[in-house]
């Protein structure tokens, strides 16, 4: 019968898998990352203080494991994946295109922005917890999420307003063409 630590870990696993995907952008690498992080956490469970924030503690371990692995592998896994199961349930072809476009744009974000965005938007973490999990100031966590949203907005809505670091990828011609279509859709919907 699992103890409380194990129960918390199992409950958190689905979210850890998404967060691992945010870090690696690759399904196989994400699964490996989660497994390694879980092994690390199990080995260090005595260092966790019951009653403190387990999710933030576990996300720190996941992140550190990612950094550690990255230093060893040096981008040997550079195949970007999007969750195919999402496209299977998308209602229309148009929905699938929008999701794919968004997924590609998300994958183009700097990893620190994507990580913070996922933590806040998908995991429902507070900026304080994001700061704690990623070892940055609360203001930095807010800034990362803000810049991620602004950059995605710029790419997806065709605004030429890069907000990230210099040297970031710029929208391609394909993106621009799709922007036009998305804007037309938005206008048609009266949004």
């Amino acid at each position: 019968m699992p103890n409380e630590f194990h129960a918390q870990l199992i409950t958190l696993l689905p979210r850890l898998r998404v967060q691992a995907l945010a870090l690696t952008r690759n399904r196989a690498a994400a699964e490996d990352l989660v497994q390694d992080a879980v092994a690390n956490a199990l080995a260090a469970q005595d260092s966790f203080t019951p009653g403190t924030n387990f999710a933030a503690w576990m996300h720190r371990i996941l992140r550190n494991r990612f950094i550690s692995t990255l230093r060893k592998q040096r981008d040997t896994t550079d195949i970007e994946d999007l969750p195919a199961s999402a496209f299977a349930v998308a209602a229309t072809h148009e929905d699938r295109l929008v999701l794919k476009e968004l997924g590609r744009a998300v994958n183009r974000l700097p990893v620190d922005q994507r990580e913070a965005l996922f933590m806040v938007v998908l995991q429902g973490m507070s900026y304080e917890d994001v700061a704690s999990a990623t070892g940055c100031a609360v203001g930095t966590a807010k800034s990362r999420v803000f810049r991620a949203r602004r950059q995605l907005q710029a790419w997806l809505m065709g605004e030429d307003r890069a907000t990230g670091r210099s040297g970031e990828a710029q929208p391609s011609e394909t993106d621009s063409r799709r922007d036009h279509r998305l804007r037309a859709d938005a206008a048609a919907s009266g949004a």
């Binding site: 995907l21 497994q35 199990l42 260090a44 005595d46 969750p83 070892g135 809505m157 859709d185």
Partner: protein, 83 residues
């Protein structure tokens, strides 16, 4: 409802003041949250790998990472990795 499936419309060029920009940003943030959930929530619904559950339940010691040095019981994995 199709409305939530579409990217929010930009304000017209002549409307692009700070309040309008803020409204668009807020609308985009709502849309983005919906779409990110649509895109990634499917991952959270996937069944957990059995080997991972076995590992957690203490029946999978053979699945530990190969880099044994990083699995020392008393090492704190929360600490930022050193260069």
């Amino acid at each position: 409802m199709d409305d939530d499936r579409r990217i929010p419309q930009l304000p017209r060029r002549e409307d692009r003041g700070a309040p309008h920009r803020r409204r668009v940003e807020e609308a985009f943030a709502v849309w983005l949250e919906q779409k990110l959930h649509e895109l990634y929530d499917s991952v959270t619904r996937e069944p957990l790998p059995p080997e991972l559950l076995r590992l957690i339940e203490g029946q999978g010691a053979e699945h530990e990472p190969e880099e044994g040095a990083e699995r020392k019981p008393r090492e704190n994995p929360e600490r930022e990795p050193k260069d």
